[in-house]
Symmetry: C2
Subunit: 592 residues, 2 copies
């Protein structure tokens, strides 16, 4: 490989040899060999972005709910502007005109910001944006606001140079400019952001974030329109949770890679469980609002059981129901002489079991009223009978977690509850009861795991590296065309990346009203697992067998070369390609 | 690739196309795409095993300690037998004679067994053994004893067929025949094993295990010699902990892969820590007796701190010393505005801190005497003043772990102590104290992780796949030559696998006497981290810088293709190749 790779994206030189081990000559600073090799990976660019193109109106869209109210709250965004009808997609298509317009190549001034949790591929979005500007608007300026939206409000930024960007190509993490969880939503925050955009005379600001961040993107776009600020605002769909997804957004970036990292570990543990034959492993996975990660990992690894929050909610299962189901599976396997297996648990589970969520709501109300959390008797006295019974049935450590850990709003810190340990304890108690009754004759010994941080900053898969690059380039095209209030979208993912389509979708079309903090708020609707959707149906058709048989599937580590490297997630394959793998590139002849 | 690969090792056919997603046609049973691809990987065989070879005497060896006593306890093994002098290595070398001996090709009857914890590559040892028999002793029989040494004693086995073995080539896990932790050491156990070997008329038994398992291998070899049983017994060095290592055994198999799996996750978390800039991550890693895993992972990832048990013991550091060192690092980084980082903690740490190990010893003695563990006041009354002070300073949950969890011998279950959480609590307390004094002005928020089971059943790296195949073939050659009481060895690992040397080393030469359960016992000496060795020196030369700078290194997922795929661990590179990468194969032209 090395030297200077000749390619359309490659505008840089890199050392021509992999460095020696860090124990060797480079002072321990070095990129790893694999990370270094990834610098040279050239994501395939959709054909439409390779030659002259233009932005044209596409299909019209409606809000996913409460359209009149949502539109009334965003009057400028929902009214005609820039020649486009309200809630209309835009498509990026080959340029119709032959001659080049003199204004086409004008240099632009752009900013970008990372918002919220890390997701593999974030750097490639920024690099795609940069490469787009370099190619189509030479002389442009790209600012990276530091440590999230607060960087925009505080005008804390750095100028992104080609040299610096080159050292982050296809790398994981958000550390080039950092991220943060602040919001730009309140009037003073919007004013601060406006001041920064004016000071830098920005043509556009690209916000890379999840559903809440992109709700705020719409708010900022609306505000800038109202103020007559020229800066347009475009969002990019990021979240490993996979819950920013809709008609026009086939998936959020990072989901593919993160699920592959978790599935590698889960697959290894499943094989370990089959080899040692003595433990159940309860594995908690990220995904507080939606269980896409757990579902994808289940499809990848074939665990004995995967709990899916949306199903728990749909059936109004309570904690006892869930415990009984897990215990039933363990008992059934024990009859076959198998006292081992793997159970996947989404971190949001506690909130989806109706009895536990009722208990948490009661606790939150009580704590807000000033009941002393250290006095468990007093706490119990304030609970309804049903919640008090549930609370008393919990283990002491879980009771402490419920009462001691609070989020910044004083609420129970749900994400800190070790649900997998709670289940282990309660399933153990249930099985002990059955053993005493003579209805369980097996053994139950369990270990717990939590996978989350491991997957957020991995080197992006070929899919995420390519998808993010295309998203960044699309965002560049939208901003260059003066578009605002859109999310950059890349579609037709069943085809190789050369044939991917790109465009933008109105953020408003993803919104509806939700009750938050006692009032209706327009927000982007989270995509939950559809319990009759393709992915869930695929899982439910197999799970009774996977519970009993040991058809463990070990996906192995993410590969960057070879014919397995270009496959996207199973969820995507099921949702957009009838279960056939979505491949980033056409297989090479020797891969066929 | 697929179809039937023509190769020296390949005697099988596999489906010619990767299967569709399991959501598709194969009923959810399928191997993953990467796992399937790995079936076709052909490990390079050392040249010496490719053509006719013979076993000849090599260098003489001495026990690592107490040779006279060790030899007196193994009179048959240490006396001349089979024409070889006592404690003499054997080498496998090209055959001197031209003509083929008629007896050379006689079919053999062999058994094999997996002993102890899983390690990536175990299947390849068995497959190497099988391939050796197929090639040089056609018509041989290979039995796999099930679920560890107990399978030998209970005569529980399965006949290993080429078809079954082919489906485990280069796969992780021990699930083909299972493993177990039973020992064959006591008289009745040896008699049971003898009965099984006689019943099957075994020429040899290959035991794949760690230091304790291989100590027992020597005991069995001695017993069979004494009894005149023809079955020879040969060991293979397995353990992800890396502590089965000596002059003739450059490394145990599985260490390379497991460390790479952990380093992938650690590297991702380091990048996450640098991106979010708000957490310290305390990561506990496997390695109760030795810290090789932690050290290798530190060299791979450059954490802000890695605690090494052997260093803690050498300096007689106590818990307070360790807590102070971690707190000092956190405080130093806080001065630079950095309130994030990663600390690696070997699981054995508690036993290496002199004060904690004294406390545990006192608790064990007390519990053995029947002191009620539920009465903490009574427990404290029975401790020395120093231990009582230490015990009182621990968090309630750690106190409970110390008292409640017992191993089968009634001792404190050290491996269940969540040392990383203990350190987080105590470092937090220490920093709160400093903050009150005005000597710490930063923030300290920490998360904990434990990586262990994730790495034991991974698909083996190219190194482990190749090393294990060579070990298995070497074991086959030794048994075929009537050798017993040896460990199969593969050396010259600084060279490509074609030039690796193979042979056997007397198990006795690895032994010395250790005090166990109140009496001297001959056991294989564990290899601890040498605090002035190449790996530790490499780490200590960098750690002050890594503590301050953020030179995080993200090794990324294990690759099976490309020029990074063939590199073995950094520890091996430092120990046998002056820090230059050990490559399994010569780089291909396009990799240079």
């Amino acid at each position: 490989m090395p030297g200077a790779l000749a390619s359309e994206n490659n505008l840089y030189r890199l050392p021509s040899k992999p460095r020696a081990y860090d124990a060797g000559g480079d002072g321990g600073r070095g990129l790893s060999h694999v990370a270094l090799e990834r610098l040279y990976y050239v994501p395939t660019l959709p054909n439409v972005l390779r030659s002259r193109h233009e932005v044209v109106e596409g299909a019209s869209r409606e809000c996913v709910g409460h359209q009149p109210v949502v539109c009334s709250l965003f009057p400028h965004l929902s009214n005609t502007h820039g020649g486009h009808a309200p809630l209309r997609m835009v498509n990026i298509v080959p340029a119709a005109s032959q001659g080049e317009d003199a204004t086409e190549k004008r240099p632009l001034r752009l900013g970008c910001v990372l918002s919220g949790g890390q997701a593999p591929g974030g750097h490639n979005v920024i690099i795609g944006l940069h490469d787009y500007l370099q190619r189509w608007h030479p002389g442009s300026t790209l600012l990276g606001f530091l440590n999230g939206p607060r960087g925009v409000m505080q005008n804390n930024y750095k100028l992104l140079t080609p040299e610096e960007l080159d050292s982050y190509r296809n790398q994981g993490g958000f550390h080039m400019i950092g991220s943060g969880r602040d919001a730009i939503a309140k009037p003073d925050q919007l004013v601060a952001a406006e001041k920064t955009c004016l000071e830098h005379d920005l043509d556009g600001l690209v916000v890379i974030g999840g559903d809440d961040s992109n709700t705020n993107t719409a708010v900022m776009a609306e505000y800038f329109l109202k103020q007559g600020v020229k800066t347009t605002v475009v969002g990019v769909p990021k979240t490993i949770d996979g819950d920013l997804k809709n008609t026009d957004v086939p998936c959020s970036f990072g989901f593919d890679t993160a699920c592959k990292v978790y599935s590698e570990a889960i697959g290894n543990i499943m094989i370990d469980s089959m080899s040692a034959k003595k433990y159940y492993h309860f594995i908690r996975l990220m995904g507080r609002a939606a269980s896409h990660v757990t579902l994808e990992c289940a499809l990848q690894t074939h665990p004995q059981m995967a709990l899916i929050c949306e199903e728990v909610a749909a059936h109004r299962w309570g904690l006892k129901d869930v415990v009984r189901q897990v215990a039933d599976m363990v008992a059934q396997r024990a009859e076959l002489g198998k006292n081992f297996g793997v159970v996947l648990v989404p971190e949001g589970l506690v909130e989806f079991m109706h009895d536990v969520s009722a208990l948490i709501a009661e606790l939150n109300e009580m704590l807000a009223k000033g009941v002393n959390a250290n006095d468990q008797c007093d706490v119990i006295a304030h609970l309804t009978q049903e919640s008090a019974d549930l609370f008393n049935g919990l283990t002491p450590s879980i009771r402490s977690e419920l009462l001691e850990e609070r989020d910044p709003h004083g609420n129970v810190q749900v994400s800190h509850i070790q649900t997998e340990k709670l289940l282990i304890k309660l399933v153990g108690q249930e099985l002990a009861r059955r053993k005493a009754q003579g209805t369980f004759r097996g053994k139950f010994s369990a270990l717990s795991h939590f996978f989350g941080y491991e997957g957020r900053c991995s080197l992006p898969s070929n899919f995420d590296a390519t998808y993010c690059n295309a998203l960044g380039q699309a965002a560049g095209a939208l901003v260059a065309a003066g578009q605002t209030g859109l999310m950059a979208t890349v579609s037709n993912l069943a085809a190789p990346a050369t044939k991917w389509t790109v465009g933008g979708t109105p953020l408003l079309s993803m919104m509806h009203l939700e009750r938050r903090s006692g009032r209706d708020k327009p927000v982007i609707r989270k995509a939950l697992v559809e319990i009759h959707g393709a992915a869930m149906t695929s899982y439910t058709s197999m799970r009774a067998i996977w519970a009993i048989q040991d058809w463990c599937r070990s996906p192995g580590p993410i590969q960057f070369h070879g014919h397995t490297a270009d496959m996207a997630s199973i969820t995507l394959a099921l949702e957009v390609n009838e279960g056939q793998p979505c491949l980033v590139n056409e297989p090479a002849d020797d891969d066929k």
